[in-house]
Each structure stands twice: as C-alpha cells, then as structure tokens.
C-alpha cells in the first residue's frame, strides 16, 4: 500500500511539472513581461523607463530561462522561470500586485471557501443520491418520467439564474437572510445558508440524472435478478445490493472533487461576498493580477491530482477486488 502510494505520488510529479511549464509558457512566453507591463501601465505614452521600473518592481527584469550574466547555480536560479514558476513546487507563490503574500492569503481564505463548499458537497451528495434512488425505485413509471423531465429542465437553467433569483426572492422580498457578507463566528450561519441551498439546487438536475443512470445500469445486472429471485424486497435489493455496488462509479466522480472544495466556487463566492479563494480568483482576474491567477492554476491542479490519488485509495476501501500493487 505504502509503495503504491509512493509510486502514485511520484507519477504526479511529471504532471505537475507539465502544468508548471504550461503556465510558464502561457504567462511569460506567449506574452513577454514587456507586453504585460504595457498592458498594466496603459498602452498610451508608456516610456521604456516605466516598463523597466514595473518589471523591476514585480521581479520580471530577469532572463526567462538562463541567466548568462550570472555564475554558478545563479545561472539557473536567477531567472524568471526559477523564481516565479519553479518556486511554486515549494508552495511559495510570491507576492500579488498589491504586495501581499499569496501563500498567506490562500491559507486565510481557505476557511470561508470550505465553510460554503463542504456543506454544499455533503448535503448535495445525500440529496442527489436519494432523489436518484427514488427515481430508480419508481423506474419506468410516470413518477420516474416526471423526475427525469424535472432534471432536464433544472439542468437547462443557468446557475446564474439560481443565484440571482435566490438572492432576489429570499433576501430581498422575504428578508430572511442578508444578501451578502460573511462572518467566521457562530453568527455566520445566516450568511452561509442561502449559498449552500442554492449550490445544492444548482446541480440537482445533472447530478441526480447521472446517479440515476448509474443505478439503472447496476439494476440490470444478473446479481440483482438473483437477489430478487431469493425473494428480497425491492427496497432491500436497492439499498443493500445496488447502492453498495454502485459505489464504485459514484466514487470516481465524487472523491476527485473533495480536495477541490478548498478552491471554493467562483460564482457563489463573488455573488455572496464571501472572502474565499473563489472570490480571490475573480478579483485577481478582474484586476489582471497574473501572479495570483498563476498561483490558483497551480494550486487547482495540485488539488486535482491529490483527488485522483484519493480516488484510487477509496477504491481499495469499497471494492475488495481492487488490489493496489
């Protein structure tokens, strides 16, 4: 198990290097630091001096990959690539345009993101699976048809609509919860409840339908027929046999997103004014703060890869047939 884990982690390294190279190419080769400086300072009337000064301020005044003027290891380390890209492996993301330490910012913003994303994820999982089980139980009846039709309609509605109409109806018309804001203490409940409910409703359609497909595929298998012919009730078949066996395809889609919960949701956080990583990203995009966007890209892929490893581990737990070797 340990050896497998180690190998899996080693396998993740080249992928992270790939992500790193890709972001490096995207941010520094497609557009040179000069272009970025000109963009940040405004196109008109920008002097070469101003560009140089901007580059120096942000540490972009070094050669890209190889510093021929330096000596020894400095040849490699005193470059943009080493200082801006390679350092991300040590989770050192440098400083944002307004001079803050990005790593510290990320650490403090993870909490609020998680406060929204984790409950949304857990409540959502239970709700979608129960809805899907209900549809499976009443499969091929009018109830199932209505459920599927409802799912299709719900998934055709833009997530923006759920947020905007939710804020309008619950906060503005009914005055039940504040429109936006966040509070870390116990008084924070009133701020997070609406984003969580909307987050759950937002993907009812697609998720429930997906689970229903999985359950239906499982229910057509031979062992289910055997279980039924043993005289088991339909409920027992569904809960004791189908649900357990459907865990494997369910896990593939579910476990992988758990680490990504740290990243929060871009839309929800920015609409509800939650100081998490999602709103941090949106603010960075709007302010064209490249170093923050670069950090988030790297962090996102890191968490995704952690999710992939967790998925593999979870297989061994639910499926004894899977042996990690």
């Amino acid at each position: 198990m340990l050896a497998y884990l180690l190998r899996r982690i080693l396998y993740a390294v080249p992928i992270l290097i790939g992500v790193n190279l890709l972001t490096f190419a995207l941010f520094f080769v497609v557009n040179t630091p000069d272009d970025m400086a000109r963009m940040q300072l405004g196109i008109k009337r920008v002097t070469p001096d101003a560009i140089e000064k901007w580059k120096q301020q942000h540490g972009y005044d070094k050669p890209l990959l190889l510093n021929n003027t330096a000596s020894g290891t400095e040849k490699i380390t005193n470059t943009i690539f080493w200082q801006k890209s390679a350092s991300m492996f040590a989770l050192d993301f440098g400083y944002s345009d307004d001079g803050r330490n990005i790593s510290r910012e990320i650490a403090t913003r993870m909490g609020p993101s998680l406060a929204i994303a984790l409950p949304t994820f857990l409540i959502g999982l239970v709700a979608y699976v129960s809805f899907a089980l209900l549809m499976t139980l009443f499969r091929a009846t009018a109830l199932d048809m209505a459920g599927v039709a409802l799912c299709v309609v719900l998934m055709s509605i833009s997530f923006l609509f759920y947020i905007i109409s939710g804020q309008f109806v619950v906060s503005k018309l009914w005055h039940l919860v504040p429109i936006s804001g966040y509070d870390g203490g116990t008084g924070g409940f009133k701020f997070v409840v609406l984003p969580i409910v909307i987050g759950v409703i937002g993907s009812v359609g697609s998720s429930s339908r997906w689970y229903r497909t999985i359950f239906l595929e499982e229910i057509g298998k031979d062992y289910v027929r055997t279980a039924r012919s043993k005289g088991l009730s339909e409920l027992a078949v569904l809960f004791r046999h189908v649900l357990k066996n459907a865990m494997i395809p369910v896990l593939t889609g579910v476990v992988v997103v758990i680490p990504l919960l740290f990243m929060g949701s871009l839309l929800t956080e920015s609409f509800f004014g939650i100081p998490g990583l999602g709103s941090y990203t949106i603010d960075a995009i709007n302010a064209q703060d490249f170093s923050v966007v670069r950090a988030m890209v790297f962090l996102g892929s890191l968490l995704y890869i952690v999710g992939l490893i967790l998925t593999d581990i979870s297989y061994t737990i639910v499926d004894p047939r899977v042996r990690l070797s």
Binding site: P14, I15, G18, V19, L22, T23, L26, F27, V30, N31, D35, M36, R38, M39, I43, R139, A140, V152, V153, M155, S156, I157, S158, F159, L160, F161, I164, Q167, F168, K172, L216, E217, I219, G220, L260, M263, L266, L267, T281, I282, I285, N286, Q288, F290, V293, R294, M296, V297, G300, S301, Y304, I305, L308
Partner: protein
C-alpha cells in the same frame, strides 16, 4: 444604396461548419445503415419538436452571420467609403427594433419611461411625470388605451401567425413529411410557435415587447442578437475539439506504447487544471496580445469577433480531453476485435485500418458527446462573461446582457425584464438542445438501449 459583404473570422468558420454539416448529411442520406439511427430520432416527438425550435434559432443565427457594410453617401465623387458599422441581414430584418431606441429603461409593453422626468406642459408648468416613450405606443393618443391596444394587436398577431403556421404546416407536410414522423406533435408545435412569433411581430412594430435596457435598446433585439453568439460558442468550439480528440484519442488507443503515454500525459496535464482557471489564464493572455496589437483590427466588430473566435479556440483546447479519453478507451476495445485482427493479418496499413475500420465505429460516441457538449457550452458562455473572461463586452451575448442587468437588481421597482429575457431565451435554447441530445443518445448508444429495455 450599395453595400459590401464582410466576412468576419467567425462567419468563415460558421460557413465551414455549415458546409461540412451538409456534406455529412449528404453522405448519411446515401447510406442506409447510417440513416437508421436518425430514423429513430425522427420518430421521437420531443426530438422533432426540439429540432424545430433549434432550427429556428439556427436560422436566426445564420441570418445574423451574413454581414455587410453599407456605403456612406458620397461626398465629392471620390471613391466610395463604407460605414465602419458592420451590419447583418438579420439586423436589416430587425431595423425597427434596432433603431427605435428610447432614452433609458422602460418596462415590457410600456408606453412611458421607467423613471420620472421634469416635463413642462402647455401652460409652462413643470411637472414630475413619467414621460411618454419615443416609439413604444407612440401611435396611441391616450395612455389609457394601452391595455386594449396590446390585447387587440396581440390577438390579431397571434391569429395571423396561426394562419401562416397552418399554411406552412400543410405545405411542409405534403413536401417533407415521412411515414412514422410524429406529425400531430409537430403540427401543434408549429402552430404554437407561429402564433407566438406572430404576436411578437405585431406587438413589436409599436411596442418594446420585452422592454428596453439602460441605454434604451430594445431587449428583444438584444436577445435575438445573442443567439448567434451562443450558437457560435456552442458549435465553432467543435472545430477545435473534434480533430484533436479524434486524432489523438484513436492514435493513443490503437498504437499504444509510447504514443499512448505521451498523449495520456498531455491530456492528464490539461485536464488537471480546473477548466475555468485555465480558460481565465488563457483569455487574460489573449487580452494582452489583443491590447498590445491594435493595428490588427480595422474596426471594433472585427476585434470583438476575433476575441470570440479565440474564446472558442480556448474552450476547445480545454474541453477535448474528455472526448479523447472516451475515444481512447473505445479504440482499445475495438483493436482487439476479430475484424481488426483480420485486417491486420491481411496486411492492411494502419492508416487504412484507422480510417476505414475504427473511425466509423467510434463516430456514435463523437456525435453523442458533441450534441451533449453544445448546451454546456452555451451555459458556460454566460458564466465566463460574468467572470470577465468571456466575449468582448461590446459583443451582444446572453452573458453580457445578464452582466449588465445584474447591476440594476437593487433598483426599486426592480428592472427584471432584461434578466428574464436573457434567461428565458437561454432556457429555451438549452432545453431544446438537451432534449435533442437525449434523443440522439438514445438512438445511437447501443449500450443504453439495452439498459433502458432491461429497466
């Protein structure tokens, strides 16, 4: 008045897609076995009705793709100068909607502005009143008649539309209808749609049916113009996704070995970056390139258009990995089939095996995933525009409409019509696409058919 046709980049790509679509349709028509699943699609009432709706959207989008520039009136007999404004045939059809702009917000079917203004009456007294609109309900002498007038026009328009729909349906039935088509559902849908269109047309000539936005533009016009942007995002992206996924997926599955390793590596790297972030990063970089090279564009339309094409490109690059993985898996399965082994032992070249034996057998996966992706892309456009990495802010799209209207949520009474129209149009488009995609999947996916029957 003379004009000069303009072909923007996105127009060219749309025509390319249209041509390849026609070529595919022509090819399928000549092969009975390829036609079979489409016959199954044609028997489904929901599929045909949603196809009808989709084709109306498509018609609007295509008309909106035929762009031209109008020649300005000659000044001193010199060479003709063209207006910098790029118009489309669709704009020409909607001229009253496009040109009848009010001062600012007005509610749907309103005859007065949304805000009060100081007006001086005949006697010179200054009053705080809701001023009359310049165009909405301008034919009415008295505001009190508005309700009756709307009702009359709405009814007469709906009746005229109904009559026209009936004629079209009867004509189309004789020409086009095949046995097994859900004719009753189609007839009802045609009548309903034509009645609604008729009502809108009659009302739109003298009112702003869906109100006006902040600068007084007709919301109905904006919504109709947004269709093209949504369709382009949903379809042109395919031009990038399809070749990448098909080529790399099949190659990885068929050749295995180091080719497989390299391709798997590429798509794992790409898919490990959360797509919104990758899109945001790429769009930010593209913005820098566009902003530092203003000399590439001769007018704002071509600039916005190039940004749209780039956005499609970026969306394509970030979304091919899912399809590629599916195709690789399927090819891995197919290459062990007896008929492939037989071909190999006959000494058929790899290229020929890939194109003649493997490609046709994975096409159903490609088709299903393309129609499924379409609606997701249309929805994604709105979200990306909200995040600030979508289409150019000057380009009319559902995303920019929602973004502009969202800022006015706090007003009292609320300005709801622009939001409602954008979401409404989007819902109809995406719902029709989803329903059609489901029917296509049911008809083409052999595995799914079995489980449906078993269930």
């Amino acid at each position: 008045m003379s004009f000069m046709p303009v072909i923007l980049w996105s127009d060219a790509l749309v025509f390319l897609l249209l041509l390849s679509g026609i070529a595919c349709a022509w090819y399928v028509r000549r092969h009975e076995h390829l036609l079979l699943p489409w016959r199954r699609v044609a028997q489904s009432a929901t599929a045909m009705v949603s196809l009808l709706v989709l084709s109306l959207f498509l018609l609007a989008g295509l008309l909106d793709t035929l762009h031209y520039q109008v020649a300005l009136p000659e000044k001193n007999g010199g060479e003709t100068v063209y207006s910098p404004e790029v118009l489309s045939v669709f704009d020409k059809l909607l001229t009253p909607l496009r040109t009848h702009t009010e001062k600012t917000y007005s509610a749907p079917l309103a005859v007065t502005l949304y805000t009060k203004e100081s007006i001086s009456d005949v006697h010179g007294n200054v009053l705080r009143e809701y001023p009359r609109l310049r165009y909405g309900g301008a034919q009415l002498a008295d505001i009190q008649q508005q309700g009756n007038d709307v009702l009359r026009r709405g009814l007469s328009g709906a009746l005229a539309g109904l009559a026209a729909g009936l004629l079209i349906a009867l004509g189309a039935r004789r020409r086009l209808a095949k046995r097994g088509w859900p004719l009753r559902a189609l007839l009802i849908a045609t009548l309903l749609i034509s009645a609604i269109i008729g009502m809108f047309i009659d009302l739109a000539t003298s009112y702003h049916v869906l109100g006006t936005d902040k600068v007084g533009q007709d919301v109905l016009y904006l919504s109709l113009k947004s269709i093209r942007t949504g369709l382009i995002i949903g379809t042109v992206t395919t031009l990038v996704t399809l070749p990448l996924a098909l080529l790399l997926g099949i190659a990885a599955g068929y050749f295995r070995g180091w080719i497989d390793d390299v391709i798997q590596y590429i798509y794992t790297v790409l898919s490990s970056i959360p797509s919104v972030l990758l899109i945001a990063a790429a769009v930010l970089m593209m913005q820098v390139t566009i902003d530092t090279h203003p000399q590439w564009f001769n007018n704002s339309a071509s600039r916005a258009d190039l940004r749209l094409v780039f956005l499609c490109l970026i969306l394509g690059v970030t979304s091919w990995t899912g399809l590629c993985r599916l195709l690789r898996g399927e090819t891995l399965k197919l290459r062990e089939m007896e008929y492939i082994q037989a071909a190999q032992s006959f000494g058929v070249s790899s290229l020929r095996i890939l194109t003649r034996h493997i490609m046709p057998n994975v096409m159903h996966i490609v088709l299903i995933s393309l129609v499924m992706d379409f609606s997701a892309l249309v929805l994604a456009e709105a979200v990306l525009s909200y995040v600030g990495v979508g289409v150019d802010p000057s380009m009319i799209s559902f995303g920019t409409m929602i973004n502009a209207a969202r800022l006015e949520m706090g007003r009292e009474p609320m300005v709801w019509w622009a939001l409602a129209s954008a979401f409404g149009f989007m819902l109809v488009l995406v719902l029709a696409a989803n329903l059609f995609a489901d029917a296509v999947r049911d008809a083409f996916d052999p595995r799914l058919n079995r489980t449906e029957v078993a269930a």
